[in-house]
C-alpha cells in the first residue's frame, strides 16, 4: 500500500512504514489506543490518519449528474432496472421498474395486476444480462390466497415468454424455490413482516423484489371515515419503512392498489384519466400517493384507434397499462394482453 498517495503528514507516513502496516484493513481493525502504541504517535495524529483513511474508502457521498448519467459507480447506477419480461412494456417504462423507490400498480379488479406481479416475480430471477436481478422475490398476500396454480403455469411456459433467453439458462433456474409467500391479513402481521422478516431475506441477498398484493385491502376494511388520522399514520409509517428497505438494499417494491370512483373533476385530473365515463382514481388518497416514486394504472378499457396491421384480439381481452406519474417517464400508455405464458404488450 502506497501511503504517500494519501494526504498525510510525512511523520505519520514514516510511522506507518516503520510499524509495517500494509493495508487500510489493518488500520481500521485496530483501536485508537492500539494504533497510538504501535506507531508511537499522538492521539490527534491518529484521529487525522483514521479520518483520511476512511475518507478514501467511503468517497464523498456527493455525485454529479454527469457521473450518474455515465454510470461510473454501479452502486448508484440508475440505468439498471428490473425488466418486466416483455420488450413492449419495457420500452414504455424505459427499461423497467426502478430499483430504488416504491412503484404502485393500481387498477380495477381483474385488470391484470396480479398477473403482472407474478411475472415480475419470475423475471427477477433471471441473470442481470436478461434484465433480472439474479435473486428471489417476496410476495405478500393480504386479501386472497396466493395463486400457486397460475404460478406453475407461468413457470412451465417461461421458455415461450422469454424467447430471448437461451433454454439452458431457463432450465437451470429453480423458479418456485425463490419465491417466498407470506399471508398478512391485518396490519400488525404486515408490520411485523416488513420490519423483521423481510430484512432477514434481504440482508442475505436471497430476495430482490417485494410485491405487496394488495396494500389497499389492509386499510379499506379496517378503517372507517372517522379513523382517517390513524390510517394516515399507518400509511406514513409503512411507506417510510418500505422506502428505507428499498434504499438500503436497492430492491424494487411493487405495491398493488385498488381504485375508487373519481367524483369530481379535480380528482379525475389527478390520475389523468382521458376516458370519460370510466373515471377511477387509485385508493388511499394523498398520504399514500406522497410516498410513491412511480404510479402505473391498468384498466380493461382499450385505447382507441388501433392500427390496421394489428392482429385483432377478441374485444375485452385487450388491456391498457398507463404511466400516471414518474419522475423519469412521460405520461404514456400501451396495450397488453394476458396470455397463457404471461403478460405481453401489443405494439
Amino acid at each position: 500500500m502506497d501511503w504517500d498517495q494519501f494526504d498525510l503528514n510525512p511523520k505519520v507516513v514514516a510511522a506507518l512504514k516503520k510499524a509495517d502496516i500494509k493495508s487500510i484493513k489493518q488500520i481500521l481493525n485496530l483501536s485508537g489506543a492500539d494504533l497510538q502504541r504501535l506507531m508511537k504517535l499522538s492521539s490527534a495524529d491518529i484521529q487525522c490518519l483514521l479520518k483520511t483513511v476512511s475518507h478514501t474508502l467511503r468517497r464523498n457521498s456527493m455525485i454529479t449528474a454527469l457521473q450518474l448519467y455515465q454510470d461510473k459507480d454501479h452502486l448508484t447506477s440508475q440505468h439498471q432496472k428490473l425488466s418486466l419480461g416483455c420488450s413492449v412494456l419495457d420500452t414504455l417504462l424505459k427499461g423497467g421498474i426502478p430499483l430504488v423507490g416504491i412503484t404502485e400498480l393500481a387498477g380495477e379488479s381483474s385488470a391484470g395486476k396480479t398477473q403482472i406481479s407474478l411475472q415480475l416475480c419470475l423475471c427477477v430471477q433471471y441473470p442481470y444480462k436478461y434484465g433480472g436481478l439474479e435473486s428471489g422475490a417476496v410476495y405478500i398476500c393480504t386479501e386472497d390466497v396466493f395463486p400457486s396454480k397460475r404460478l406453475q403455469q407461468l413457470i412451465d411456459q417461461q421458455h415461450k415468454l422469454r424467447a430471448d433467453v437461451p433454454a439452458e439458462i431457463i432450465q437451470k433456474i429453480k423458479f418456485g424455490n425463490s419465491i417466498f409467500v407470506e399471508h398478512a391479513a391485518d396490519l400488525d402481521t404486515f408490520h411485523n413482516c416488513i420490519t423483521k422478516r423481510i430484512s432477514l431475506l434481504l440482508t442475505r441477498g436471497m430476495v430482490r423484489l417485494v410485491v405487496i398484493d394488495s396494500i389497499a385491502a389492509l386499510f379499506r376494511c379496517e378503517f372507517g371515515v372517522s379513523d382517517s388520522v390513524m390510517k394516515a399514520r399507518y400509511l406514513q409509517t409503512f411507506g417510510a419503512e418500505l422506502h428505507s428497505l428499498s434504499t438500503r438494499f436497492r430492491t424494487p417494491i411493487m405495491c398493488i392498489n385498488q381504485v375508487t370512483d373519481a367524483v369530481s373533476e379535480s380528482e379525475a385530473a389527478q390520475c389523468s384519466c382521458s376516458v370519460v365515463g370510466n373515471r377511477v382514481c387509485p385508493a388511499l388518497g394523498i398520504t399514500w400517493a406522497n410516498q410513491l416514486l412511480m404510479r402505473l394504472m391498468v384498466s380493461r378499457v382499450p385505447q382507441p384507434a388501433p392500427s390496421s396491421g394489428v392482429v385483432s384480439h377478441p374485444t375485452g381481452s385487450v388491456r391498457t397499462l398507463r404511466v400516471v406519474f414518474a419522475p423519469h417517464l412521460p405520461s404514456s400508455s400501451c396495450c397488453y394482453t394476458v396470455k397463457l405464458e404471461g403478460v405481453k404488450g401489443i405494439k
Binding site: 457521498s61 456527493m62 455525485i63 454529479t64 449528474a65 454527469l66 457521473q67 450518474l68 448519467y69 448508484t76 440508475q78 424505459k94 430504488v100 423507490g101 379499506r220 372507517g224 371515515v225 382517517s228 388520522v229 390510517k231 394516515a232 399514520r233 400509511l235 406514513q236 409509517t237 411507506g239 417510510a240 422506502h243 428505507s244 434504499t247 375508487t260 370512483d261 367524483v263 373533476e265 379535480s266 380528482e267 379525475a268 385530473a269 389527478q270 389523468s272 384519466c273 382521458s274 385508493a283 388511499l284 388518497g285 394523498i286 398520504t287 400517493a289 406522497n290 410516498q291 410513491l292 416514486l293 404510479r295 400516471v324 406519474f325 419522475p327 423519469h328
Partner: protein, 343 residues
Amino acid sequence: MAAKKLRRARLSEELCERLSRYQITTCQDFLCLSLLELMKVTGQSYYDVQKLLCKVSRACAPKMQTAYEMKLRKSVNPSSAFLSTTLHSLDKVLHGGVPCGSLTEITSPPGCGKTQFCIMVSVLATLPVSMGGLDGAVIYIDTESAFSAERLIEIAGSRFPTYFDSDEKLFCMTSSVHLYRELTCGAVLNRIMSLEEEIISKKVKLIIIDSVASVVRKEFDTKLQGNLAERSNFLARGASVLKYLAEEFSIPVILTNQITTSLSNGLAIQADLVSPADDLSLSEGASGSGKRESGYVTAALGNTWSHSVNTRLILQYHDLLTREDTGLISGYETTSESPSGTS
C-alpha cells in the same frame, strides 16, 4: 455565522496558526474567551487584543445596508436578483423570476411536477448569464431518490436544442449539478450545515432540496408528545441556516413540500391529516351519521414552516390536460392569487 473560521475574518496567518494550537478556530471560540485569556493566548497587549476583538466581531456580525443601496444594486444588475424560470407568465407574476437571496417553496399534490420543475430550474441555473441563467453549479439534495440524470439531459436537449448541440456542453452542464442523497432528518440537517464550504469551493448558484416534507413527516409523528415542538425546532434550524446561506451568497434556494388535507370539523386536530374524500365507496355505505367533515388541502408542515419560507408556489391540476401555477404571498407581491401560464 458564529461558526465562521478565523482565517476568513482576515486575521494574520501566524496568529491563526497560534490560535489553532489552542483549538480556537472559529469566531465563536474566539469571542467566548475573556480578555485576559485572549491576551495570554495571542501574546499581545491589551489594546491590540481590543482591536482584534473588534475585527472578529465585525467579521461575523451582519452588515448594515440601506434600502437605497439594495435597490441600486438590484436595478444596476437585475439579472443577479432573479433566476428567470423561462415561463413568461410566472416570471411576470414573480416580478422577474425566482428571487435570489430568499427561500422559495414549491408545493403540489403528488405527481403534479415538483421534481420536474426542480430539474428544469437546475438546467437553467447552469446556463450562462446571457441566456438568463446564473452560470454556476447547483446543489441538489434529494430525499426521495426521484432525481433522474436522463431526465435532466432530456430536458436540457429539448428545451435548448441550439445551445446543447454538442456532447461537451451537456457534460459541462451535468458535471455542475451536484447530487446528494440524504434519507433522514439528521442527515439533511448535517448536510445543510456543511453547505457553506461547498458553496464557496464549487461556485454554487442554486440550492434545491427535494423534498423537505417527506423526511420530516416520516420521522416526526405529531400525535406523540413533544414531537411537534421537536419538529418545529428542526425545521426552524434548517430554515435559518438556509436563509443565512441564501442571503450571504445571494443565491436562490428552492424547497419542495407536500400537500395535506386539513379537517375543520371542530376537533382540535393537527394539520397533517389524510383526505377524507378517498374511499368514497366505503363511506357512502356508512354515511348513516350524516356528519360530513369538510376539508381543504393545504401545504404540509404547518404554520411555523410557512413563516420560514419567503415565497410559496402551488401547482395544481387544472383540468385533465393542464396544470396551474398559483403564486401565493411572497415578499415581492401582495396580491394573493394570479393563475398563470400552463407548463
